[in-house]
Amino acid sequence: MKNLDPQLVWAFSGVLGLLAVSTLLGLALKVAVKKPEAQATIRNLNARIGAWWVMSAIFGLTLVIGQIGSLVLFGIMSLLALREYVTLLPTRRADHRALFWSFFIFTPLQYFLIGIHWYGMFAILIPVYAFLYIPTRLALAGDTEAFLQRAATIQWGLMVCIYCLSYTPALLMLKIPGYGRSAKLMLYLVLVDQLSDVLQYVWGKMLGKHKIAPVVSPNKTWEGFVGGVLTATLIGAALWWMTPFRPWVAALVSFTITLMGFAGGLTMSAIKRDRGIKDYGTLIKGHGGILDRMDSMCFAAPIFFHIVRYFYSK
């Protein structure tokens, strides 16, 4: 219970309040809207809100448990994300051992390194050791067909699903003078990033006209992007009291989180379009798979971590 500092409790209560309001709004929309094509959107919206309750409950629980809870939660999410990713990409028989290493050696090891606060190794395990190991293992397996493509496929999976995602609980490693426990930073990052996704979706549904990248992601519009980024940045700035930042810095940092989140969503969409699919999975009702929900986090977390580490941590 040592993580329960009052600011964390306030921020999390805010999340629950927001969810309660959204749930009521969703119910009101369900009653008010009669057009059949709009009803499908509202059904999806309500499914999404329902899933948000579950995700918030799980995340809240891990915040209470502390570091172990966060490491286990994000470790499992990494494994599930990697599973969704490799299932949709073409792998060959000879990739089997390299994939086994990715799931059962590199993933646990990455989270273990966070657990023992070994920053130096955490930061290079995947981009140095795993990136050299994977092609070597493929070469040993002896199949040269599409060699570089297969190696790069596995490396990118490790990069996004394991390395980048692990930066979220890695925030707990940071010691910031005069700030207290950095669990609050984790909540802040998740909050701004996910709100930015939600707000881009909401603004897009309300005002969206001009598509940003129609081939890659037909739902992303300039109106949604600008509206979502601005409102999420404002909320991020208004939450400065739960961070080590001053308000204007909080705005800048939030702005960066939203931009990186957008980059993540767009990039992971490009892979989906290349493979001819809509979602990575079906695990989260209304949202798709873990990777569909976490794609923005994967890009935002490492940058956020390094900004905080460079400017604030001891």
Binding site: R83, V86, T87, T91, R93, H96, R97, T282
Partner: protein, 211 residues
């Protein structure tokens, strides 16, 4: 002796590892006596197929497994006690190294005996595991079984990605998400030719591949 709680646990972990998404296309789970037959590319095939059946169907369903692989040590304990597998000899003709394979009719008799009037079977008519890329021609066992039991209900099924989770020759699984599609029930038609029937049965499985 059967160990039911263990069977339930194994079923749950098989579903977890394989992340299997089960679909019934023009078909639904039914505890009536049936023979489930599917493509074969992994040792996990029957465990996953069996685990994907609802508990009441699972309780009356027994896999048919190759004696030469499953009849030793821990494997046998699992196969016989937990899954109540019906162990039969393969008659592939390639088993010269093994002791002379028994009469194929004996295998059919063993299956019929195991079925009684109410038990269902899981059968892989390819006889051996393939690479997962295509479905091999079916062996005749399925036909002879139906001949002995006119009107026997057959349920085709297609297992996706099991060859990626645990391919032939590997002993450690990689957790891909798999899919299992059951198709509509079929039966041997009166007077249907053996070859025509086996082709039709194989097509019933292949059709589910792209659904």
């Amino acid at each position: 002796m059967t160990v039911r709680p263990l069977a339930g646990m194994i079923a749950a972990s098989a579903r977890l590892i394989s992340g299997v998404q089960v679909r019934w296309v023009d078909s639904e789970p039914d505890p009536r006596q049936s023979v489930y037959f599917a493509n074969h590319s992994s040792h996990l095939d029957f465990v996953v197929l069996w685990s994907s059946l609802p508990a009441e169907v699972r309780a009356v369903t027994r896999p048919v497994a190759a004696q030469d692989y499953w009849n030793e040590g821990l494997r046998r304990a699992l196969a016989v006690n937990v899954f109540r597998a019906v162990l039969v000899a393969r008659h592939s003709g390639k088993s010269e190294g093994h002791e002379a394979s028994e009469d194929p009719r004996l295998a059919i008799e063993r299956m019929l005996e195991a079925m009684g009037d109410s038990e269902s079977l899981i059968l892989f008519p390819e006889g051996t595991r393939g690479t997962g890329e295509e479905v091999a021609t079916f062996k005749s066992g399925l036909y002879y079984l139906c001949q002995q039991r006119p009107g026997l209900r057959l349920i085709p099924a297609y297992l996706h990605n099991l060859n990626r989770i645990l391919p032939k020759g590997e002993f450690l699984p990689v957790p891909f998400i798999s899919k299992l599609t059951f198709g509509p029930a079929m039966a041997l038609a009166a007077g249907e030719d053996r070859r025509a029937f086996l082709v039709r049965a194989r097509e019933a499985v292949c059709r589910l591949m792209d659904l």
